[in-house]
Amino acid sequence: MPSERQARTRRPLRAALAAAALAAWLLPTAARAAEIVVVLNEKNAVSTVSLQQLRLIYGAYRRSWPDGTPIQLLLPAAGSPAMQVMVTKVFRRQREEEIAQYYVDLVFQQKLVKPPTQPSIRESLARVRSQPGAIVIAEKDEIDDPSGLRLLPLEGL
């Protein structure tokens, strides 16, 4: 039978094991909740988009799709999980405002006429449906109606 001292030392261990079990149960749930997809127009023939390709697209190094259609950049809504992915994974910056600064810089460098739009998710999806060259990234769960859209997993995330 364990002594009181042994029992005391085991309590933190049990608590840690319980916390780890809880985290193991919660983390996949959180990951599922933030599943990010690339949203394209259904006429867009592109079948895969990697993180590196997304960097080139949103960095304005690649400004047209393989068939020549001009790329219409749309940014995820401010503060959304998709925008967080855009900041930390695509642009590899620290703060959302650095993206705004980056695009003003690109306008100045003559790479863009205007910074890209940052509409609501509903407006983004409507624009992607109506504009063949449009692109946005979004949480998969946010897209109730995928008609007219092509949803691609973001490879390399």
Binding site: Q110, S120, Q131
Partner: protein
């Protein structure tokens, strides 16, 4: 069981079906109500989907790009965007040149930079950058620094015509006149503008082609310029004529390897024929100019590390002699949230016998250390605090600047 109990049981059996029928009717009524509500909801959603989307609410919200071919429709008008940059600063300097030697301190109303961009047609854009400069005598001058019409045929081929910044290394292509864009308060000594003691032809008037190609090692970018070239003196950008038949040719090539995101390195070269000055025995004939440079940069957040150098060779056809000058800078900064501490080291080595640089203020052997802190207080407003130690052939100086720069 007594008689009253049997009577009660009978009453219950008699009433129960009627109660069940009453419950069913209520449920059916509730379901019908729900169906009607759902019908209305679907109708609303359909109407919303067909209606034009509401305006965006982001500060960055602007339409980007037109649908291809839309410019040919009756309702098409070119889009226009106006942006600008400005700065105000306080300067303190010891041992400056000029009549107020000793020390000076003053507020300076920095230049106001107006950037106008327009999408003229699908893949065709216009850009103009006009600077309002405030002179020491109190007057204001207006300089059209860039004026370009560009056609973006593809990622690999873009063509522009007009006045722009020459393909001369990293800084000149990356940064233009808006001080807010720089981490520091000012440009490196090597890349000063022509009207500010600069020794390089940072502006061109002519044609520019450029683009980028994705290759196995990484993104390869190029820029080619064919332009009027230099005038008789350093501060003479030939806007509407060229004093000789030869044209300036400049090119730059850069590789950004995929293996190390943020890293890029490149080379550039320029050739020009600087016209002679009739009546000036030291400049009777032209000067052949060759400029070669390299740059290596690492701009993966939070780091900014820039290293660049340019070598200038002048073949003087009057004295049949050569003059060589060179310069460069190393700059590093590290972003910690809103704060970016930085350091830059500038160097410039000028051949004093070169008649082309005679009388150009600031064109002398010099070394400069720059220490500073940039604070991005708001997204488009930055406060910069900077100290500079200049060791120049004519005089050494210490200077401090507190600058507020902004984009609007």
């Amino acid at each position: 069981m007594g008689r009253p109990a049997w009577a009660a049981l009978g009453l219950v059996l008699l009433l129960a079906p009627a109660q069940a029928r009453g419950d069913d009717a209520a449920r059916i009524e509730a379901l019908e109500r729900e169906v009607e509500e759902l019908k209305l909801l679907v109708k609303d959603l359909q109407a919303e989907r067909q209606a034009p989307p509401p305006p965006s609410r982001s500060p960055m919200a602007h339409d980007h790009g037109s649908a291809s071919g839309a410019e040919n429709s009756a309702g098409w008008v070119p889009t226009l965007a106006i942006r600008g940059f400005g700065n105000v600063q306080y300067d303190y300097q010891t041992n400056p040149e000029g009549p107020h030697s000793g020390s000076t301190n003053h507020f300076t109303n920095g230049a106001m930079d107006l950037l106008i961009t327009s999408e003229v047609a699908s893949k065709v854009g216009f850009l103009s950058e006009t600077q309002f400069e405030f002179e020491p005598d109190g007057s204001t001058s207006i300089d059209v620094e860039r004026l370009l019409l560009h056609y973006d045929y593809s990622d690999a081929m873009n063509v522009a015509i007009g006045r722009g910044h020459t393909a001369l290394g990293y800084w000149n292509a990356r940064f233009h006149h808006g001080v807010w864009l720089y981490t520091t308060t000012d440009r490196p000594i090597l890349f000063r503008f022509e009207d500010d003691g600069g020794i390089l032809p940072v502006h061109f008037v002519g044609l520019e082609a450029g683009g980028s190609v994705e290759t196995a090692p990484g993104l390869v970018s190029y820029v080619l310029d064919v332009a009027n070239g230099r005038g008789e003196i350093t501060d003479q950008v030939q806007l509407i004529e060229d004093r000789n038949h030869s044209k300036m040719v400049a090119g730059m090539l850069r590789l950004a390897p995929d293996a190390i995101p943020g890293l890029a390195f490149g080379v550039n070269a320029l050739m020009d024929e600087i016209p002679g000055i009739p009546g000036n025995p030291d400049r009777a004939h032209s000067i052949g100019e060759t400029i070669a440079g390299f740059h290596a940069v690492y701009t993966e957040s939070p780091w900014e590390i820039l290293l660049e150098s340019q070598y200038i060779h002048h073949e003087d056809r009057t004295c049949h002699c050569n003059h060589d000058s060179w310069g460069g800078y190393f700059q590093t900064g590290y972003r910690l949230g809103k704060f970016t501490p930085y350091y830059r080291f500038d160097w410039l080595g000028i051949d004093e016998q070169d008649p082309f640089y005679t009388g150009v203020v600031g064109a002398e052997d010099s070394l400069q250390h720059v220490f500073g802190l940039r604070i991005d207080w708001w997204t488009f407003v930055a406060l910069k605090l900077e100290y500079r130690r200049l060791l120049a052939r004519s005089a050494d100086s210490n200077a401090g600047t507190a600058q507020v720069s902004f984009a609007f």
